[in-house]
Amino acid sequence: MPKAICFCIVFLMLSFSSALSDELVIGLIPEQNVFAQLERYEPLGKYISSRLEIPVRFSMLSRYGNIIESFRKKELNAAFWGSFTGALAIAKEGVEPIARPVWLDGSSTYYGLVFVRKDSGYESFEDLKGKRIALVDKATTAGYISPLFLMKEQGVEISPEKFFSEIIFTGSHDAAILAVLNGEADVGAAKNTIYFLESNRNKRVEEELKLIGVTEKVPSNALAVSGDFPKEKAEKLREILLGMNESPDGLSVLESFKAKKFIETTKDDYIPVFEMAEKAGIELSTYDYFNK
């Protein structure tokens, strides 16, 4: 018993001394059903853990809106950012991007999809005036920024709050799809990757929904480390991820992750996001991304 107590004390002391020395905590933004997302990421976490030789834990960030605060508050070492949140984090927190996945279709980008129910009869954005829209979060690229940018480009000049009768923030892309499927909203916007995942999982997506808009492509969710993350460790992490497709176990992990490989990602890859934000009139460093 005294041994167990001693062990606990030592463990607690170590865990408080430095977050990184004990484990690598990686934040995840809920882009789909949180349980399904965790199941997808956990093999990757194990792989990184085995190569980096420290435990790896994922922490779910509950809301897109406060993701930067959460990152800061939880003292996370790294996170898989969405392109917009990534851009925000780079701008606000000075995080350093490392790598991002190349999807099975060979793309390393994603884009937003705007969809309606087939039986709704809506064909264009004009048909959507005064309808209810399901968006994901103000801080998502594919679930908010790019669809709105697309609409603006295609002639929806007025602010979305006035154009739509109701804006529903679902918090995740699949929830937005579900909202349209269930008739909770008339139109929805979501990330292409999640949409196709849901489409594979749920026949209703293909049977009942149709796409009415496709946005510009942005870099896929990249892993970025915090500004104070040790450089050499960051480099090591990059090496691990970039070399995954060269080992059999790495390949099997990539397969369950639904990716082909990881490719190097830098701040420069986020330039299109910054440009898009600029065009959409968003000042990233001061962007208020709280959903209302």
């Binding site: 809920p30 059903n33 949180v34 349980f35 399904a36 965790l38 922490s59 779910m60 960030l61 509950s62 809301r63 897109y64 809106g65 979060d137 109701e166 804006i167 529903i168 923030f169 679902t170 918090g171 995740s172 929830a175 579900l178 909770e184 959903n291 209302k292």
Partner: protein, 655 residues
């Protein structure tokens, strides 16, 4: 027995093994039951944990978006724990109805997760969020109900299993106790039976062994009962017999050895006795020879004195004053003659002739004399053999012997007593005359016993020695028993003496039994008188001058013509030259001696002279008869001149 022991052990083993097997089966069942019980416990724990987990998640949902809201990570962890528990429960059950229930539950969990995810990730539109929350909570409640349902099912089953297990444990306990009790019981019975079966025969064997140990060799135990003991009993009996046989053999050997030892001892004793006898006999023989020689010399001397005294008696005046002295001389010479005669008797040179006589008759005669002479306080008893106790001896010698013994007995019984004279005819085996007797010859035993003072061993050993006496000086000559000894030996007998101090003395004399015709009758000497004297030429051959002188003087005075010679050679010469009618021949002369001279004279041509032998020696019967074949008679020195003259004249008268 062996079979019984085997049977007992086998049945014990059988009971034990079957009891153990049954018990083991029950124990296995019971442990299985316990295992199931344990599993049920786990299931129970799991259902409890599951319901707790659902409650936790529900609590998480309730508290979401309140200040007590949990971190999303915690909520996710709790949900995943819950899911894990459901999966775990599901993985254990394979019964269809249960699988269905768990499938439903899994479906419920999936829905729950979906609803939860929607709820936790929604971040705007409060009514929507509340709706999502309620939906999720309802799904959670439904799930909870299902869990409780399964849990209650598990509890019921748990109860059943518990009861069943306890029942089995009870059974095991009973069977184990039963087996132990049965094994113990049979064990005790078997032990008692085997012990009894072993102890009874063992008792018999112990008893038998004890008897053998106490010396009852050859004791047998009954051969009965169980095979092993029968066999053992047979071997035991064999052993016992063998022991007995060996013991008897040993005893026989010991007996033989003892007998041999006794025989050897007897032989040794006999040898010693014979050796003693021999030594004693030789001693007496030597003394006899010595005394015989002395007696001969004395006889010659006494003959001179006797002859001269007889001459003086003839020539001396009747009233001469010296006649008294002359009578003393003659009497002393006579006594001297007696003495030398006794010495000669001891040296077995007995003067007298043996003939067959009845000892019983002689004893009767002596008994009369003794009754008159022995004091009144001495009883004389005569125990005579029914058959005549005939022996070959000189009756006068036997008489002298009996008187000598009786007088000795009288002296030993100064305060009175009993003198017993016994004769018996005994066979040769009991007789001590082994050497002198034939196998079938009988023996006459004469016992002369008194109950007087007796003798010690030292005295007893010396009694036959001449001149040994225990009597006062002058009371005895010490020659009585010596003469007896000489006489007995002369008659071919044997004498022994048994005596113990204070109890009396017994002399036992063994004589060879004589048949009537054993001895040839010796020619009797004729009694002659002076009136028969007639003339003749007589040669006196003697080396003793005094003897020649007196003999010649008396012969010449009687009208005989006398020639003398002092050696045998001279005597033969004279006989050859002249006519000699008679030779008075001394046997102990120098030169060729009297015997050879007699021999020569007897071979002279007729008419050869007659011979009278004059001798100082004594002869035994054989020598005497030999001499008498060649001589007319033998004249024992010292003889009276009258005896000499009558002998001469008788011989000359004989044709």
């Amino acid at each position: 027995m062996r079979k019984k022991i085997f049977l007992a052990f086998f049945s014990l083993l059988l009971i034990f093994v079957s009891g153990s097997l049954i018990s083991s089966k029950y124990i296995v069942d019971a442990t299985e039951g316990l295992h199931r019980l344990l599993q049920m416990h786990k299931i129970d724990d799991m259902s409890k944990a599951l319901s707790l987990s659902i409650r936790t998640v529900q609590m998480d949902l309730f508290s979401l978006r309140t200040p007590a809201s949990r971190d999303l990570d915690t909520i996710i962890t709790n949900v995943r724990q819950m899911e894990g528990l459901v999966n775990k429960c599901y993985s254990c059950h394979h019964k269809e109805w249960l699988v269905k229930k768990f499938n439903n539950m899994s479906e419920g969990v999936r829905l729950y997760k979906s609803a939860l995810s929607l709820y936790v990730t929604s971040s705007a539109n409060t009514p929507r969020m509340e709706r999502l929350g309620i939906e999720a909570t309802q799904i959670g409640e439904a799930l909870m109900e299902r869990v409780l349902e399964v849990s209650s099912l598990a509890s019921v089953r748990f109860g059943h299993v518990t009861e069943e297990s306890l029942g089995r444990i009870k059974d095991v306990r009973l069977i184990l106790l039963g087996t132990l009790a049965l094994t113990f019981l049979i064990g005790v019975i078997a032990a008692i039976h085997i012990t009894r079966a072993l102890m009874a025969p063992l008792g018999v064997f112990i008893d038998g062994t004890r008897k053998i140990a106490s010396g009852q060799l050859g004791h047998k135990v009954p051969s009965e009962g169980m095979t092993e003991f029968r066999e053992l009993a047979e071997y035991f009996n064999k052993m016992s017999e063998e022991l007995k046989r060996a013991h008897e053999e040993q005893e026989n050997t010991n007996r033989e050895l003892n007998n041999e030892i006794i025989e050897r001892k007897h032989a040794e004793e006999e040898k010693n006795r014979l050796m003693d006898q021999l030594v004693h006999a030789r001693k007496l023989e030597a003394i006899g020879t010595l005394s015989g020689g002395i007696a001969h010399e004395f006889n010659n001397l006494l003959q001179v004195i006797q002859g001269c005294a007889d001459l003086m008696d003839i020539t001396m005046e009747k009233d001469s004053a010296s006649r008294k002295h002359l009578s003393t001389i003659i009497a002393t010479a006579n006594r001297g003659g007696d003495l030398t005669k006794r010495l000669l008797a001891f040296s077995r040179k007995v003067d007298g002739e043996s003939r067959v006589m009845d000892l019983n008759t002689k004893l009767g005669q002596v008994f009369v004399i003794l009754q008159q002479t022995l004091p009144r306080n001495i009883d004389i008893e005569l125990k005579l053999s029914s058959a005549p106790a005939t022996i070959a001896a000189d009756p006068s010698g036997i008489e002298q012997l009996l008187l000598n013994m009786a007088l000795n007995a009288k002296d030993a019984m100064a305060d009175g007593g009993r003198l017993t004279l016994t004769t018996r005819l005994i066979d040769a085996k009991a007789c001590k005359l082994e050497g002198n007797l034939g196998k079938d010859d009988n023996c006459v035993l004469l016992d002369i016993a008194d109950n007087g003072c007796g003798m010690d061993e030292q005295t007893r050993a010396l009694i036959f020695d001449p001149f040994f006496t225990t009597k006062d000086v002058g009371a005895g000559t010490g020659l009585g028993l010596s003469v007896t000894y000489g006489l007995v030996n002369a008659y071919g007998g044997y004498i022994e003496c048994k005596s113990s101090l204070g109890e009396g003395t017994t002399f036992s004399i063994y004589f060879p039994y004589a048949k009537e015709d054993v001895l040839e009758s010796v020619p009797r000497e004729r009694q002659l008188t002076f009136s028969d004297v007639s003339g003749g030429r007589v040669l006196i051959a003697d080396d003793e001058h005094g003897i020649i002188e007196s003999a010649a003087a008396v012969l010449e005075s009687m009208g005989y013509d006398v020639v003398t010679a002092s050696t045998g050679e001279d005597a033969i010469e004279i006989c050859k030259k002249e006519r000699i009618d008679l030779v008075a021949l001394d046997l102990g002369m120098p030169g060729i001696g009297g015997v050879s001279c007699l021999e020569t004279i007897s071979t002279l041509p007729e008419p050869r002279p007659k011979v009278i032998i004059t001798t100082g020696y004594g002869f035994d019967d054989a020598a005497r008869s030999d001499l008498l074949k060649k001589a007319e008679r033998i004249l024992q020195k010292p003889y009276r001149l009258t005896e000499f003259i009558s002998a001469v004249s008788e011989a000359l008268l004989e044709k």
